[in-house]
Amino acid sequence: MEKSRRYAKSHEWARLEDDGSVTIGISAYAVEALTDLVFMQLPDVGSTVTAGESFGEIESVKAVSDLYAPISGKVISVNTELPSQLETLNDDPYGSGWIICVEPIEADQIDALFDQEAYDKLIGG
């Protein structure tokens, strides 16, 4: 069964994995709203991301948007193939379109994020 995702109000998702790491991406709603993605800048492995602060950029034809970390943690892996294949975000935003994986600083920080139902409500679904 697919593990449950949690969401930040800035439309990033976070998923707690079996090994305690947290995978982070952006929601299908965000991808749809951005459209025409052309560029993405990601952090380096080993860097630290802070909840609510920018950890990268995503650029569409019309605008540049920050990617905000839904939780704080140390970056343990980065989907380095993604920037050259941004269409993956449209095709599989919760699978192969993952962006970074972090080792959380506070294990329960993820619980404060929206669950699926609350997020669906937020985006008017």
Partner: protein, 393 residues
């Protein structure tokens, strides 16, 4: 409450993603900006540009009056021709416009000379930007002479549709009757439209009402812009779309198309205090022996050797945005040598492109520079404009 064009309902019923553009609810895209852009480069793109301001100026003194109001010569414009001009004047937000004060560039516009009135008076059409229409109309009305010239803002009783792309007049081997315009005009009228040169205009009819067709556009492609009655707009739009090469396009792709064609956009390449000569718009001001508002101030700048407008191409897909600094690194020192006026990802070349105004010494094609994009220095190269030029004229 946002203003709506006669096609508003059509847009909302057909996946138009509506945004506020200069007080109008307009579609930024229907599918994706990139696919609409490429569709216009390969086939035909249809754009609702009814938000643009449309003004008719007529009367016995109309030519003389416009000659005194516009930066471009008007008197020698023949019937059926149009040209790009700037409109200079005093920006006054009050209802009562003061005609004294320092004139600024209020807008850029296309002025077309229409057939004379039956009594012999002149008639002109002027198309201005949506964002500047209120102040331009206010200014022009305040400057109208007591008699001999009448001005009508026809924006809300008309619609304007741009039909743009290499297949507007059909595939070369098949001929003009195979393009989307065959769905709206008789073959006799279509022959006349196809015979128009760039910036030529034709007054004809659609749906029993007058339309103005001009061989012009804002995409770098061949095509026409049609001003029709607002009552006929949906029928005109749907008839054009029935053609299988034609697709609706939003303002998002209109902007990327015009940037590749290096066409100026008010608020970016020019604003109230822009020096037209530095902005690459010297052709739009005829200063010799003429006296339009602000002519003296503009005359002084000619030959003053300010900056120049250039195109910049990036290695990456990343785009600079308006206001980003252009940098020159030389002998270990770095200086700001210019500023981005418009930047975007270019769907045709699949990398970042930008228009910039830079110091003349670094304005030659091939010059290597850097642009500071959100804290990152990106290498760029100066190229000659436009970025995109259609192969078929």
């Amino acid at each position: 409450m946002l203003q709506q064009t006669p096609l508003f309902e059509w847009h909302t019923q057909n996946h138009g993603r509506m945004v506020d553009f200069a007080g109008w609810s307009m579609p930024v895209q229907y599918s994706s900006i990139v696919s609409e852009h490429l569709g216009t480069r390969e086939g035909v793109g249809l754009f609702d540009v009814s938000h643009m301001g449309r003004v008719v100026v007529e009367g016995d003194q109309a030519a003389e009056w416009l000659e005194s109001m516009l930066t471009r010569q008007v008197r020698d414009l023949s019937v059926g021709r149009s040209r790009y001009t700037l409109i200079t004047g005093v920006d006054n937000t009050d209802e009562t416009v003061q005609c004294d004060g320092d004139p600024v560039i209020l807008d850029d516009a296309i002025v077309a000379r229409l057939a004379n009135l039956e009594g012999g008076g002149h008639r002109f059409s002027i198309v201005v930007n949506a964002s500047n229409r209120p102040r331009v109309v206010r200014w022009l009305k305040a400057c109208l002479p007591q008699e001999g010239v009448r001005l009508h803002d026809t924006t809300e009783e008309t619609a304007m549709i741009a039909v743009q792309g290499p297949l507007v007049f059909g595939r070369v081997q098949e001929g003009i009757l195979e393009g989307p315009l065959r769905n709206v005009f008789s073959s006799e009228i279509l022959e006349k439209v196809a015979a128009l040169k760039n910036y030529g205009v034709l007054e004809t009819e659609f749906d029993g009402k007058p339309v103005l067709v001009s061989r012009s556009g804002y995409t770098g492609e061949d095509g026409v812009e049609i001003i029709s009655s607002s009552l006929s707009a949906v029928m005109l739009w749907e008839r054009l779309l029935e053609h299988n090469t034609t697709r609706p396009c939003g303002l998002g792709s209109r902007d990327t198309l015009r940037l590749e064609a290096a066409m100026p956009l008010y608020g970016h390449e020019l604003c109230e205090t822009t020096d037209p000569f530095s902005a690459g718009l010297g052709f739009a001001v005829n200063v010799d022996g003429r006296n339009f508002p602000g002519a003296d101030g503009i005359r002084i700048r000619r030959g003053a050797g300010g900056r120049c407008r250039v195109g910049l191409v990036f290695d990456s897909r990343r785009a600079a945005r308006t206001g980003d600094h252009v940098l020159l690194s030389e002998d270990g020192t770095e200086s700001v040598c210019g500023e981005i006026t418009s930047g975007s990802f270019s769907p045709t070349s699949e990398r970042g492109i930008a228009l910039a105004v830079v110091d003349r010494v670094v304005g030659n094609p091939g010059q290597e520079l850097e642009v500071l994009v959100r804290g990152t220095r990106l290498p760029v190269k100066v190229v000659s404009l436009p970025f995109y030029r259609r192969s078929h004229q």
